[in-house]
């Protein structure tokens, strides 16, 4: 039989590790939503003395790569310091899984984001974050580094898919270098919107295409 994933991915998919909720977690986060596709929730328990992750659990409503990445990320993160855990990248998770298909990056990156957001949630709750900054083009650009170009499996900023960013009066305009009727145009538009519209001072996100 010929399956679309590596043996390690299939193993984690069939027997995901650290599944479930943590009662009274120190931090939790949900990335994605059922409306836009996959979704993953991450729960963490922090050892405040060592500043490390004592326990990490996840739940997934998603495809095989989403489930497998959730599983591997909990294994990679457990016992790490908060800063080290925040720096785990999608590439590292993918490598640990024996490689993920590029086109699946957008589903599997959610678990990586989920872990970061859960840690951020812990830090916010414990007054460890700085105050809100106004959104600038650079902030948008940083956020868009989390949107994956399905053509390459790399982010849309690095692959020059984002041609222009404008921020004005609570509206962000992003110009994407794809024809409007491209196979992945709708997908990219939705992912860009999703990343930007949660910024505290942004009311509207406009995604335009070059053709």
């Amino acid at each position: 039989m010929k399956f679309p994933y590596s043996d390690i991915v299939l193993e984690h998919f069939r027997h995901p590790r650290n599944v479930g909720k943590i009662e009274n977690p120190d931090g939790k986060a949900t990335e994605g939503s059922p409306a836009c596709g996959d979704m993953v929730s991450v729960y963490i328990k922090v050892d405040p003395k060592k500043n490390t992750l004592e326990d990490v659990k996840f739940e997934s409503y998603g495809c095989a790569s989403n489930i497998a990445t959730g599983s591997i990320i909990t294994e990679l993160a457990k016992g790490k310091t908060l800063d080290a855990a925040k720096n785990i990248t999608w590439q590292e998770a993918s490598e640990a899984l024996g490689g993920l298909p590029k086109i699946k990056a957008h589903c599997s990156v959610l678990a990586v984001e989920g872990l970061r957001s859960a840690i951020q949630n812990y830090e916010e709750r414990h007054g460890l974050v700085k105050e809100k900054k106004p959104t600038t083009e650079e902030v948008v650009r940083q956020r868009l580094r989390r949107v994956i170009n399905p053509l390459t499996g790399l982010n849309v900023v690095r692959t020059n898919l984002v041609k222009d960013i404008k921020v004005k009066d609570g509206t962000v305009s992003v110009l994407v270098d794809l024809p409007q009727d491209h196979q992945f145009a709708n997908n990219v538009r939705d992912e860009v919107r999703e990343r930007i519209e949660t910024l505290w001072d942004i009311r509207e996100v406009v995604v335009e295409f070059t053709e």
């Binding site: 399956f3 998919f13 596709g37 409503y61 009727d181 196979q183 709708n186 997908n187």
Partner: protein
């Protein structure tokens, strides 16, 4: 990795296993009578090839209640629907008008041909459908204008199996003097269609859904229909479709048509009903997509809420079952099914939708096995899903 010992294939709407008897019928035209179909003044092998092609054409035309001159062979339903939409647009666009009407849940050959015509200045009306996928007949009647050159509405839907009332649609088109094309890819030899009784001018059919060879399809073109040739080459297929005739394909297609029996269709229907009843009874929070009646006999489509379709298909694959899903994660464009959203379903409904389609080699045991497997898989996936748990409590 442990693998399944037996494959239970339930994706017959996508492709079917070739019937050995079809292959036997094709064999002589691959190895013995492989010549090009010549005119009646050609050489022996070419004349024999011509006769085989004519015979196959007659069989296909008969199956639709048409005359042989009204049926052309193509490379499949994609090409047939392209010829229908673009051919009519090219023939009538300048003289009559630039408006066509399709339903919003058409399969891609029709939908994307319509979009391609839009780029060339045509106006396209995408008809709404109701919650079960039926087009709004009143909206159709109201949408037809003096500039409308073609209405293209599928006979049945590829995903949710809805059978449209093409008799009524044909009557409206005839009355308003507009050409009517229907994509019958999934109804051909499954649901009756006779062009003598139904006012349809163009019909797309394909061999790949009825255990015939891939790469072979056809288009019924009612005598006198104004349609332009747009793929240029030789004068084959009544000068409508250029290219060396695929005689083994045509012969195989005719054989595949001959092998379908009404008993077989009844068997599909029994399997479909048992599967739908079984799934809805065994698996909580499952919803049938499409109608219960006026549905393709070989199609079932069910959404299992709170779980994602690609995960389901992979689990099923590891147990030896082949099915398809409307989930974005499964599609080449990363977009969820336009059919499920067309019937008003949200993304989540498409995400957890699974299509089961039956063919000649399926049995009732297959149905029971897939119901059993699904019950286990869905329970397992729900146990790791963040969704559905609180909702369940609220409902109780």
């Amino acid at each position: 990795m442990k693998t399944a010992d037996k494959i239970i294939y339930l994706d017959n709407a996508a492709a079917t296993r070739l019937d050995e008897r079809v292959l036997e019928a094709m064999r002589p035209y691959l190895f013995d009578t492989y010549a090009v179909a010549t005119s009646e003044f050609g050489y022996s092998q070419g004349i024999e090839a011509r006769e085989a092609l004519d015979e196959a054409r007659t069989a296909l035309a008969n199956a639709l209640g048409a005359a042989p001159e009204e049926f052309i062979f193509t490379s499949g339903s994609t090409e047939s629907s392209n010829i229908a939409l673009k051919g009519v647009a090219l023939a009538l666009g300048k003289q009559k008008g630039k408006h066509i009407i399709v339903s919003k849940i058409e399969d891609f050959p029709v939908l994307h041909s319509a979009q391609a015509l839009e780029k060339q200045g045509f106006r396209v009306t995408y008809l709404e459908v109701d919650g079960e996928g039926f087009v709004n007949i009143d909206q159709l009647r109201d949408s037809i204008t003096n500039e409308t050159v073609l209405v293209s509405i599928q006979h049945a839907n590829q995903e949710i199996g809805t059978i449209q009332d093409i008799e009524a649609i044909g009557c409206i088109c005839r009355e308003k003097e507009v050409l009517f094309h229907t994509d019958a890819t999934h109804t051909f030899k499954r649901v009756p269609l006779d062009v003598k009784k139904t006012a349809v001018d163009l019909v797309t059919v394909s061999a790949h859904t009825i255990h015939g060879p891939k790469g072979t399809g056809g288009l019924y073109v009612r005598q006198g229909t104004q349609i332009a040739k747009w793929m240029d080459g030789g004068f084959q297929e009544f000068n409508l479709r250029a290219g060396l005739e695929n005689i083994p394909g045509a012969v195989g297609f005719a054989k595949a048509v001959q092998l379908v029996t009404t008993e077989e269709i009844g068997r599909f229907q029994d399997m479909r009903d048992r599967l739908i009843d079984g799934m809805l009874a065994e698996i909580p929070h499952s919803t049938l997509n499409g109608p219960r009646h006026k549905r393709l006999p070989q199609n079932a489509n069910i959404t299992f809420h709170f779980v994602e379709g690609e995960s389901i298909t992979l689990h099923l694959d590891m147990r030896g079952f082949a099915v398809s899903t409307g989930s974005a994660c499964f599609s080449r464009s990363l977009e969820a099914s336009h059919v499920i959203s067309g019937i008003g379903g949200d993304h989540e409904r498409a995400h957890g939708s699974i299509r089961f389609t039956f063919g000649r080699y399926n049995t009732m045991d297959d149905v029971d096995a897939v119901v059993q497997a699904l019950a286990e898989i869905v329970e397992e996936l729900r146990s790791i899903s963040p969704l559905g748990k609180s909702e369940e409590k609220e409902e109780d």
